[in-house]
């Protein structure tokens, strides 16, 4: 289904919200407000494009990088900042780093720190969906670093053999922390691996939110009708280092970063909206102001909130 103007505006709003969130989250981490943050600036088209139009009951399983997916699925930036600041009002009262978060009611099942280890979990989610006789879909997010993991291999194979309702969504930002793709991935191509499992694969421009959305929708439709998984490789780029915690910048050139910044996903959609006169400069500024306000309030809320008392450390060890 082609995207309506309303859809395009919504995609823009979400990407801008994620962008402003990421900018602030990164800045605050550098200021020492909290221990660490793995920024997702530059990759906004992926969460926005994928999550647009998902059902509440579709599951998205995330990585350590960026909080675009929870935001796109409706988790408030207020909750997310409370989580980043590890304060009492956060859903876990500050117990966990935010990318581990789980909000099943919104279809978000949290990431883990072991790269790739979420993939089998996502496969399990798809398996359970099938067992329950529903046609909901699971989207498994992971990066280029995960594709050489055994978890990837076993998870994808299992999903294929059982034709599970899952979309394997790879955000290839060309670096696993400091190690470039060429040094890690034999054959040099992530999408090429789809064939060795017997599933279709697509490589797309991960900074084109419309393209991302449309490609994922096709994969989702396949999954819902029982045709099994698809592997999607999105080429994108992160503007920030791997994380903020004592992280040294790695050897990438200024030119490379500049080239990718020129492909900024938010700017690209903004240009289109303006060109096709779906929005005016004025409207865009208004939206941006509103978002900045929302983010600022969320930060203020988190900063002012108290920490949970020590006994909060003992909750939820067991269900």
């Amino acid at each position: 289904m082609p995207l309506s103007v309303k859809d395009l505006k919504e995609l823009y709003r979400i990407m801008l919200l994620i962008r402003r969130f990421e900018e602030t989250a990164f800045e605050k981490a550098l200021q020492g407000a909290y221990a660490n943050y793995h920024g997702g600036m530059g990759q906004e088209a992926n969460p926005a494009g994928v999550c647009h139009g998902l059902r509440r009951t579709d599951m998205t399983m995330i990585t350590h990088r960026g909080l675009g997916v929870p935001i796109a699925r409706g988790v408030s930036v207020k909750d997310i900042f409370a989580g980043l600041y590890a304060k009492e009002p956060s859903p876990t009262r500050g117990r966990i780093p935010v990318y581990h978060m789980a909000e099943p009611s919104l279809g978000v099942l949290g990431g883990t720190s072991m790269v790739g280890s979420v993939i089998p979990l996502a496969v399990g989610s798809a398996l359970a969906t099938r067992l329950a006789g529903r046609d909901d879909v699971t989207i498994s997010f992971f990066g280029d670093g995960a594709v050489n993991r055994g978890d990837f291999h076993e998870g994808v194979n299992l999903a294929c053999v059982r034709k599970l309702p899952i979309v394997f969504f790879c955000e290839n930002n060309f670096y696993a922390k400091s190690t470039p793709l060429a040094a890690t991935t034999a054959g040099g191509s992530i999408v090429a691996r789809a064939k060795s499992y017997g599933i279709p694969g697509e490589r797309i421009d991960g900074n084109d939110v419309v393209g991302v959305h449309e490609t994922v929708q096709i994969a989702i439709a396949r999954a819902r009708t029982g045709e099994g998984p698809t592997l999607i490789e999105c080429e994108t780029y992160r503007w920030t280092p791997h994380s903020t915690a004592g992280d040294r910048e790695f050897a990438r050139t200024e030119e490379e970063l500049a080239q990718w910044k020129a492909k900024c996903p938010v700017m690209r959609l903004e240009k289109r909206l303006l060109k096709e006169r779906h929005m005016t400069e004025e409207e865009i500024r208004t939206v941006d102001e509103g978002i900045k306000q929302e983010v600022a309030e969320a930060v203020a809320f988190a900063e002012a909130a108290p920490y949970a008392p020590a006994d909060a450390a003992y909750e939820n060890i067991y269900a």
């Binding site: 966990i96 720190s113 072991m114 922390k177 909060a312």
Partner: protein, 334 residues
Amino acid sequence: MTVMTYAEALNEAQRIAMNDDPNVFAIGQDIGSYGGYYGVTAGLLDTFGKARVMDTPISEIAITGASVGAALVGARPILEVGFVDFVGTCWDQIFNQAAKFSYMSGGRARVPMVIRMACGAGLAYGVHHSQSLEAWFTHIPGLKVVMPSTADDAKGLLLSAIDDDNPVIFLEHKFLYAEKGDVADGAQRIPIGRAAVARQGRDVTIIAWSRAVHWALAAAEELAGERIDCHVLDLRTLAPLDEAAVLRAVEKTGRVVVCHEACLTGGFGAEVIARVTEKVFDSLEAPPVRIAAPDIPVPSSRPLENEYLRPERRLADAVRNLVAVSHRTARQRK
């Protein structure tokens, strides 16, 4: 002697070992130009080149197994795993393969490898980046487990670990990487399997390892002002345990507190205390005490993480209590 950080000491040990023996090589994620998560392998790539300082994909099964395989045919890998919490993904290759080759070959094969892993909490890194899992490794026959507490020990023990023809699990507390200390010059080895007395004392024995040694020494300082003279034993190696040193240290004072950062239940402190009660029970003036983290995953919010790290704060009181209990017992016995 030169003052340097724990991380620098580890770097130097690797440098010396790699210089001396072309079979020694370093392998791990982001250890090359990036220098490792904590800078421990900084500069090694420039000195020894890509052939001996290997950056890898995120493939723990293959990297760990490849290290074992290389060791089997006579190379000597130093594998870096950035967080001990990730050991689950390497686990089969460590406990089923590396640990068992010597035994299952009837002594004909050996696996001379070192697996360096960073452990410990205190940086608000959360559940998957803060654990201390040394107890798991001590339970596997065939693995040696080393946990240095100072820069000097780190260097000397790493050199010994690389020399050792067995798989050595070398656990480095993240908090200690920046700790400075006097480090012996040259290539002096510190033997694996030998504990060290970190502080001589007469009244109470504190047995600790890794970061907890620093807690113990700080508590001892504080308690000295109250005329409680603590004897601090740094295990340095957990497996094989220097049991003789442990028993001597306990017999010396008759009072023992074992302190570690790892969770209480199933922690290595339990093993130490079991041996003490089995073997030198009669020398005890009071029941032995364990001070350790509560049995919880490590939370990330600072005050909650501090709750996990409460052994540091509770140690001095535990010693005071123990002294009081032992006096009561002594009076009762009279």
